[in-house]
Amino acid sequence: CRGAATGSTRTTAGPAWPSPARTTAWSPPTPASPSDTTSSRASTPRSASCKADKCVIASSGFQGDIKALQKNLAARELLYQHQHNKRMSCPAMAQLLSNTLYYKRFFPYYAFNVLGGLDSEGKGCVYSYDAVGSYERTGYSAQGSGSTLIMPVLDNQLKSPSPLLVPARDAVTPLSESEAVDLVKDVFASATERDIYTGDKVEIVVINKAGTRREYIELRKD
C-alpha cells in the first residue's frame, strides 16, 4: 500500500529532551543526465553528513539523538564496507536507516530524516522518514519545524500528479540543477520568515554523477 508517512513531523514539544528542530528539505532530481539530488537543511552544518557512495542524510530534531543515530549509521556503514568490499548503495542505506529507527520503536530517536543520493542506476533518489522508521521514496521532501511551510510550495512548484492516478505517475517535474538549487534557496528563505527555528544559514548539498558539492547560503538572522 502506498506511502505511509503522514502523521509524522511533530513540531517540537516543550520540556525535557528535544532541542528546536531544524528544517530539512529536498528538491527533485533532474531528468536525463546528469541526475542529481539537491538536499539542504537550515542552520549550522551539523545535521548533514556523507554516507555511502553517493548518499547524504539530513536530520532534524533532537541533536543528541541525531548525533547518536548518525554515528550508529556511520559505524554500520563501515562494517558493511569491511564485509562486502564495497560502499553501501543509497537504497541499502535507506533500509538500514529505517531498521535502525524502528529498533528503537518504544524509545525513539527524536530525529526526522531525509536521505538523498543516487540509486544503483545513477538516478537521484530521495527517502523521507518519520521518527520510528516508516519511509517512502519520493521525488522531494521536507522535514522539521519548517516542513509545513515548505512542502506546500514544493508540491505546487513541482506539479506532482495526483496520487490517486492509476497507473501511478512519476512524482516529479524535471528541473535543471540551477532551477533546483534556486527553488531550495527560495523555500528556505520563505520558511525563515515565519518559522522561528529556521534561519541563520542553510547548507545545500548537490549530488550528481560528477560528484558532491556543498554550498552555504546566509539566511535571515532574526
Binding site: 525535557a16 529532551w17 532541542s19 549550522t44 551539523r46 533532537f62 541533536q63 543528541g64 539523538d65 548525533k67 547518536a68 524509545f107
Partner: protein, 232 residues
C-alpha cells in the same frame, strides 16, 4: 529504568564561559554554589584540569560534577597506565563525556550538568585548540566560544560580536571579564569572586580567585526614595 524518578538539582554552580585565544583556551566562572536561592558555598572550584591537555568547567549540580571528575580520574588513570606515550586529548575527553551524559539521559537518570571542555593538543596539523560543551540531555558541540546557563543569554551575544581569532591572553581576559561582569550584574545567583583558567601547549594554569570592580554609582541608586510619591 526508573521511568518515574525526576531528579532535582540541589547544590548548583553558575555559568561557565570559555573561549579560544591565540595560545590556547581560556575558561572562567565564579566560585559560588547555591542551594536553591541560598548562596551556600562561596569558594568552590568549578574548573579542573583533566589529564595533560584539557580543562573541564562544570555548571549545574555540583555533586554530579564531582562524580564526573571521579569518572575522569579513572579514565586518565587507565590512560596513564598504558604507558604508551599517548595521552587523551580534549577531543577524546569530550567524546567520552558526551557518551556518559547521553547514556545517563537515556536511562532517565541524568547528570544534571552543563560541561565545558577545552584544551590544546598536538595534532597532525600542529597544535590544535579544542573547545566544546555537553549538557545533561546529551546535546554537544564544538565552538570558538562557549557559555553555560545564563551565560548563553548574556555572554554569547558579547562573544559573538567581539571574539576574534588570535586574541592575546590580555585581550581574551578583558573580553571574559566583560562577560563575567554582565553576569554579575544580571544573574542573581552569581557572586563577585571569579577564577580564570587557561590551557596552552605549555600546560594549564588555574589562577587564584579575584573580584571585579563593579559600579553602582547611578543617580537612581544614590537616593532611591527621592521623588517617590506615596508608598512607592
Amino acid at each position: 529504568y526508573n521511568l518515574e524518578r525526576r531528579e532535582n538539582p540541589y547544590v548548583t554552580g553558575n555559568s561557565v564561559i570559555a573561549m579560544k585565544y591565540k595560545d590556547g583556551v581560556i575558561m572562567a566562572c565564579d566560585t559560588g554554589a547555591s542551594y536553591g536561592s541560598t548562596l551556600r558555598y562561596k569558594s568552590v572550584e568549578r574548573i579542573k584540569e583533566v589529564g595533560k591537555h584539557s580543562l573541564i568547567g562544570g555548571s549545574g549540580e555540583f555533586s554530579d560534577f564531582q562524580e564526573i571528575l571521579r569518572y575522569l580520574d579513572e579514565l586518565t588513570l587507565n590512560d596513564h597506565m598504558w604507558d604508551d606515550g599517548n595521552s587523551l586529548g580534549p577531543k577524546e575527553i569530550h567524546a567520552y563525556l558526551t557518551r556518559v551524559m547521553y547514556n545517563r539521559r537515556n536511562k532517565f537518570d541524568p547528570l544534571w550538568n552543563s560541561l565545558v571542555l577545552g584544551g590544546v593538543k598536538k595534532g597532525p596539523k600542529g597544535d590544535e585548540k579544542y573547545l566544546g560543551m555537553v549538557n545533561m540531555i546529551g546535546t554537544h558541540f564544538e565552538e570558538n566560544h562557549i557559555a553555560t546557563g545564563f551565560g548563553n543569554h548574556m555572554a554569547i551575544p558579547i562573544l559573538r560580536g567581539e571574539w576574534r581569532e588570535d586574541m592575546t591572553f590580555e585581550e581574551a581576559v578583558k573580553l571574559i571579564e566583560k562577560c563575567l561582569l554582565v553576569l554579575l550584574y544580571r544573574d542573581r545567583s552569581s557572586i563577585n569572586k571569579f577564577q580564570i583558567a587557561k590551557i596552552t601547549t605549555e600546560g594549564s594554569t588555574i589562577y587564584p580567585p579575584y573580584a571585579l570592580k563593579t559600579n553602582w554609582g547611578f543617580a537612581a541608586f544614590e537616593n532611591p526614595s527621592k521623588g517617590a510619591v506615596g508608598t512607592w
